[in-house]
């Protein structure tokens, strides 16, 4: 049955949408290569080894990106993830300072994230009238507020037993451990999205959640799962954040939610739901990371990256929107 519905979904929009997405990822690869060339032009030390060495700092955001992709595909949004990272990192730090071994620190981080995400999911499934934007806006302030209260008046905590968490900051040859985590997450998430019932149901919900519910898809359960999942991934992100920064403060993770959403949208995932895939988001994420490293190595005003990301973001959504309205106009003309 899944095969059959998969075929029908593919069959209808073959001309327009599929070719566009195909072209989109092709374009992303070109932009990625352009960024690498640009990086090696403006900085002498920009090579595979140095880029990989500086990557862990930025890679922890990509861990969350996959789950955010799922959330956007079901036409929801979660802006509390930055605050979840802050809270999880804080809790992880305290666990580490209490002399816990790495496995416990990891469990505390991931568990805190999962609990926060589950709370979001619970509220959103109990109060279906509420848009995810406003609920996660409120929980964002709450989660960061809990972290602020936990951190106390100093507002920061540092990881004292650095040895505990160092295994996560290790390199395997030239490749940092977190890189393997990202690759593993990418494989699992991309496979689940394109090859499993769960993944195809996400598209169904995103295209038309009412129709999906009537077709027997447990929409509310899947919404809950997704919000819990992104909380869990935010906890994982916090764990690797801790391994690179060895500390947390009240501004930890600020703006992560927007960065992650930007990567997804730049990668071709529509916030209106039901469109896009994680391969594009993965390329987009690495493009932004490599661009950041290049500008950082050259000591170019690091805030310039904000302008570039902003322009990329707007242009990347304008192009499909304009081409869609153009093709709609053409169709209207041929009908007339």
């Amino acid at each position: 049955m899944a095969k059959k519905s998969g075929r029908t979904i593919d069959a209808t929009p073959k001309g327009g949408v599929k070719r566009l997405i195909f072209r989109w990822e092709g374009g992303l690869v070109l932009i990625f290569i352009a960024v690498l060339i640009l990086g090696s032009l403006i900085s002498n030390s920009y090579n595979a080894v140095s880029v990989l060495r500086e990557m862990p700092k930025y890679l922890c955001e990509i861990i969350m990106m996959f789950a955010m992709g799922y959330i956007l595909i079901i036409a929801e949004i979660d802006i509390s993830v930055g605050a979840i990272v802050c809270l999880s990192a804080t809790m992880g730090c305290f666990a580490g300072n209490a002399g816990m071994p790495l496995i416990v620190v990891a469990l505390v981080c991931v568990g805190t994230g999962l609990a926060c995400g589950a709370l979001n999911g619970l509220i959103l499934t109990r109060f279906r009238e509420l848009p995810a934007m406003i609920v996660t806006l409120a929980t964002q302030i709450i989660f960061r507020g809990i972290a602020e209260v936990t951190l106390g008046s100093g507002g920061s905590v540092s990881f004292q037993n650095a040895g505990t968490i160092m295994p996560l900051a290790n390199m395997v040859g030239p490749i940092p451990v977190v890189f393997f985590v990202v690759v593993a997450a990418a494989i699992i998430f991309i496979f689940a999205l394109s090859r499993t019932t769960f993944g195809r149901r996400l598209y169904a919900i995103g295209s038309n959640s009412t129709a999906a519910a009537y077709a027997g898809i447990p929409v509310q359960r899947i919404r809950f799962t997704n919000f819990a999942l992104i909380g869990l991934m935010a906890g994982l992100c916090a764990l690797f954040y801790l391994s690179t920064t060895l500390g947390a403060n009240t501004t930890t993770g600020q703006g992560y939610e927007m960065d992650v959403i930007a990567m997804c949208v730049f990668g071709g995932i529509a916030t209106t739901g039901g469109k896009g895939n994680l391969v594009g988001a993965l390329i987009a994420g690495f493009t932004i990371v490599c661009l950041r490293i290049a500008l950082g190595q050259r000591n170019i005003n690091t805030q310039l990256i904000l302008v570039i990301i902003g322009i990329l973001l707007i242009v990347s959504v304008l192009i499909p929107a304009i081409s869609a309205s153009l093709s709609a106009k053409k169709k209207r003309k041929t009908v007339a």
Binding site: I134, A321, A324, S325
Partner: protein
């Protein structure tokens, strides 16, 4: 029986009335807990002065939310316009308070126009477009500032407008609120915003230029954000590129507490004012009732969540009551 029903209807029927009652209750509690030190003229004027930015931008956000959109670029526009006029003074190019305000508003207008055109003509989702704008204007604020900032000395003449005890911020607030109250309630343009928010297709069919209304709404938001940038420089007597970072969420929260629906079509100027005031009083009252500053965000967040959830519960109760009445 009849009287009770009408009282209940008054309480739950109008968002504004229930908010006013909650506000009065809150004020009484805070007044008692603080030992009668809360309701002083100085405290009240400080509440308005410290929250003038949020109150000003909440009006623009009301218009945007009414059309079913959202604008998260406002504090970036604020930073860009504020930084620009801060630098104009730092390098002694311009010191005229009125002209500086006009420039800030014009910058905001330009930014808002860009948002509006991309959203209405380019059919881009408002959150994505304004997220891009958020990055761009914040980044540009850093780039033009070149890691410097305008200090209190640089903007000394300008900050006379908003310093403690000056009436500048209050005049702007009163003027803008009166203007918006009239426009949203009694003019064609104001009613069109509601029409577009309630049902864009119906509005389009009935001859309203939906794209035009959308563009104008984001332009209004931009102008208010630009003016808030100038006001921020005047009130806090400095301009940094990171000013008011993340405060757009406060503005949205103020609107939502005031009963503005995020799916469009519902919300009033009075409600927005009350929502912003509620938010401001809570922030001001927490330290006075003995809660340390670190508890503020947690309590603010819980209040937003509770208000939003209560809203849903009362709406459900009202819907059920309506259904029951119909069955009879």
């Amino acid at each position: 029986m009849k009287k009770k029903k009408s009282l209940k209807e008054i309480l739950t029927g109008s968002r504004e009335v229930s908010l006013i009652l909650i506000l009065i209750a809150l004020l009484i509690v805070v007044q008692i807990l603080s030992g009668g030190t809360f309701l002083t003229g100085q405290n009240i004027s400080q509440i308005f002065r410290n929250n003038a930015l949020t109150m000003l931008m909440a009006l623009g956000m009301l218009c945007v939310l009414l059309t079913g959109g959202i604008d998260i670029s406002i504090t970036s526009i604020l930073a860009f316009s504020g930084m620009t006029i801060g630098l104009l003074q730092k390098y002694d190019i311009l010191h005229n308070t009125f002209l500086l305000f006009v420039i800030a508003a014009a910058i905001g207008l330009g930014c808002g126009l860009l948002n509006g055109l991309i959203i209405s003509r380019g059919h881009v989702a408002p959150i994505i477009c304004t997220m891009g704008a958020m990055y761009i204007w914040r980044g540009l604020a850093y780039v033009i500032s070149n890691n410097a900032w305008a200090s209190g000395e640089d903007v000394s003449g300008f900050s006379d407008f908003g310093k403690d005890g000056a009436i500048g911020p209050y005049i702007i607030l009163i003027a803008v609120y009166v203007l918006f109250f009239i426009v949203m309630k009694w003019t064609r343009f104001g009613r069109r915003i509601y029409a577009v928010g309630s049902n864009p297709e119906a509005a389009q069919v009935s001859g309203i230029n939906v794209a035009g209304v959308l563009t104008k709404v984001y332009m209004i938001m931009g102008v208010l954000a630009g003016m808030a940038g100038a006001l921020s420089v005047a009130v806090y007597a400095s301009a940094q590129p990171n000013m008011q970072y993340g405060k757009e969420m406060d503005v949205i929260a103020a609107c939502v507490i005031g009963g503005v629906s995020m799916s469009g079509g519902r919300g009033t100027v009075l409600g927005t004012f009350l929502g912003a005031l509620f938010y401001a009083i809570v922030a001001k009252a927490l330290p006075l009732v003995g809660l340390q500053a670190i508890w503020q965000n947690l309590i603010k967040g819980i209040i937003i969540l509770v208000v939003v959830l209560l809203n849903v519960l009362t709406q459900r109760a009202m819907d059920r009551a309506n259904l029951e009445r119909r069955e009879i």
